[in-house]
């Protein structure tokens, strides 16, 4: 019955969509201007780089050398996760909500929007305080290489390409994880027989040595990877749960004992709550240490849980009320403007939406400098720092990148004041 009603609703709603704003000539001329402006940027940047170098500053801002000519990356150490948050702090009831780059300026870096080959540079995570792991997108939806960007020298270096190993097409790298030596990723592809396969691959952060760790049938889609003890990559089955590990030396994925129906939180912890998996919202959450077998059961009367990490769960208590449960009989409620809380980032931030009850003009909101920012949807995105109670909005830009997960707190969007530059916010650097 819902199928018939859905079909009717979609067709009825579609009739109310109205015309496309703007005539064809306006649309095309606007697009031409946009593209021409983009094309000018590299030329201006090259002139700037030459001027700076000749001035003795030695800043290599732009490098036109091809991919194979880039210098190999050097080894770096990963960013450590901060200590566990104790009692969650609520945001102020009427606090002004400001953009994240203004709230946490210490966590902001800037880098070019494209790499030296002209590919879009999408930051994935900070490898340390100055090195950014970057994927290079050379065509529509196609991440074709991994780079490292050094914010001090302003140079990109090559790590590896992201091409399939073997004869696969419709090939899309999905998620990445790293330690201080290695980067791993999974990718969905289709083999010559038309069968979907998932590849797990690894490369050295120092550059090269790309190798296939495992190949399994099916499609894994979006899941989170984590590297453990320089030995394994662990991941969850995204629909039904179950935590698996793949040896870094290669071999088939092995299911971790005690992980049935569990989703990776932060290794070695897993939980049976994962709103993104489409599971029913649970009123009781179970967290399990997959190494020791220790189990925590979290229950908060009236709360349905959406996501859990060690010592914290986030959920809804009644209509639109968002809470973080931080201990037995202890929860912290967010004010009304914090809506749709859904995911923990770095055991500290809750990804949510900002809703002050006003209409946000179809996805544009005014920043604190009067500039409008595109949010992509009608509610601006918001981060709640449960350690300090601070909240901040962030823009969702089509040309930006969002790498929010249990292990990564990376946001990027184009700098409206500096063409060719993007603002990168590393939540791990928030004090």
């Amino acid at each position: 019955m819902v199928e018939q009603e859905l079909s009717r609703t979609l067709h009825d709603r579609a009739e109310a969509a109205g015309p496309v704003p703007g005539d064809l000539s306006t649309i095309l001329s606007t697009a031409r201007r946009r593209r021409r402006r983009r094309a000018i940027v590299p030329a201006v940047a090259i002139v700037l780089a030459v001027a700076l170098v000749s001035g003795g500053l030695g800043v290599a801002w732009w490098d036109r050398s091809p991919y194979t000519g880039l210098a190999p990356a050097s080894k770096v150490s990963p960013s450590p996760l901060g200590p566990a948050v104790g009692k969650a702090r609520p945001p102020a009831a009427n606090a002004p909500v400001r953009p994240a780059d203004k709230v946490w300026p210490e966590a902001v870096i800037r880098m070019p929007t494209t790499d030296p080959t002209g590919a879009k540079a999408h930051p994935i995570t900070m490898l340390d305080s100055t090195h950014v792991l970057v994927s290079a997108e050379t065509s529509f939806q196609k991440q074709s290489a991994l780079r490292m960007y050094d914010t001090k020298t302003r140079k990109f270096s090559a790590i590896t390409d992201l091409n399939p190993i073997g004869d696969l097409h419709d090939y899309y790298p999905q998620d990445f994880a790293n330690d201080d030596r290695t980067v791993v990723w999974d990718a969905d592809g289709v083999d010559s027989s038309g069968h979907h396969v998932v590849q797990f691959l690894a490369a050295d952060l120092s550059g090269g040595h790309k190798r296939l760790l495992a190949s399994i049938p099916g499609s894994l889609s979006v899941t989170e990877l984590e590297l453990v003890d320089h030995k394994y990559v662990v991941y969850s089955e995204p629909l039904h749960g179950g935590v698996y590990r793949v040896p870094l030396g290669g071999g088939s994925p092995q299911k971790v004992a005690g992980s049935t129906g569990m989703f990776l939180a932060v290794w070695p912890w897993a939980s049976d709550v994962n709103g993104f998996a489409g599971t029913d919202r649970k009123t009781t959450a179970t967290l399990r240490n997959l190494v020791t077998g220790d189990t925590q059961v979290v229950h908060d009367p009236g709360t349905t849980f959406w996501d859990c990490v060690p010592s914290l769960c986030v959920g809804d208590a009644g209509t639109d009320a968002s809470v973080v449960v931080d201990g037995p009989d202890s929860h912290t409620a967010a004010p009304d403007y914090v809506r749709l809380t859904d995911y923990f980032v770095l055991n500290r931030f809750v990804d949510a939406a900002y809703d002050d009850g006003k209409v946000h003009n179809g996805g544009w909101v005014h920043g604190d400098n009067g500039r409008k920012t595109y949010t992509g949807k009608s509610l601006p995105h918001l981060l709640w720092d449960v350690k300090t109670g601070t909240v901040a909005t962030y823009p969702l830009s089509r040309d930006g990148a969002i790498g929010l997960s249990h292990h990564s707190g990376m946001l990027a969007w184009h700098d409206p004041d500096h063409a060719g530059q993007q603002i990168v916010l590393d939540l791990a650097a928030v004090r």
Partner: protein, 180 residues
Amino acid sequence: MSPDEEAAEFAALYASRSAALMRYGYVLTGNRHDAADLVQEAFVRLRLAWHRVADRANAEGYLRTTMVRLHISWWRRIRRERLVGRVPESVTEDAALREVGDDQDLWSALGRLPVRQRTVLVLRYYEDASDHQIADTLGISEPTVRSHALRGLRALRKSWIPTAAIPTAVAVPQRVPEER
């Protein structure tokens, strides 16, 4: 065909099909702003490639595929597909929508689905596309299409009460305890 003839042919395509594509974009995204962006970007991309398009009779198919892939792509950056509540514009914002007699709860529930689930359901129940066609369009396997559809429909069933099934307020007879 001369450049002028090509331009005229493309303008005719826009004039005849942009409204239908706006409707398609609207049910994909849930709001006019994003729908318009999808339509405009798809036409811009097609115009740039127009001189190379051999099968112009299927131009609308190209535009629709571009729109749905752009829609997924713009949201793909969010590693975690997130629920975005209240995605559809409020019916109070637009007089035209006040005339729509469908189920507001179902439309709202659709807007709360993750983008892939919503996209699969739109392709299935608005475009009448087969699972095979949806898989081709989205670059995913047919089992994944079915999984998205199943999960999306399940979520809709959970959160949606058919209008006809909502009881009106009636006096409930008090139960009289039986005499012992």
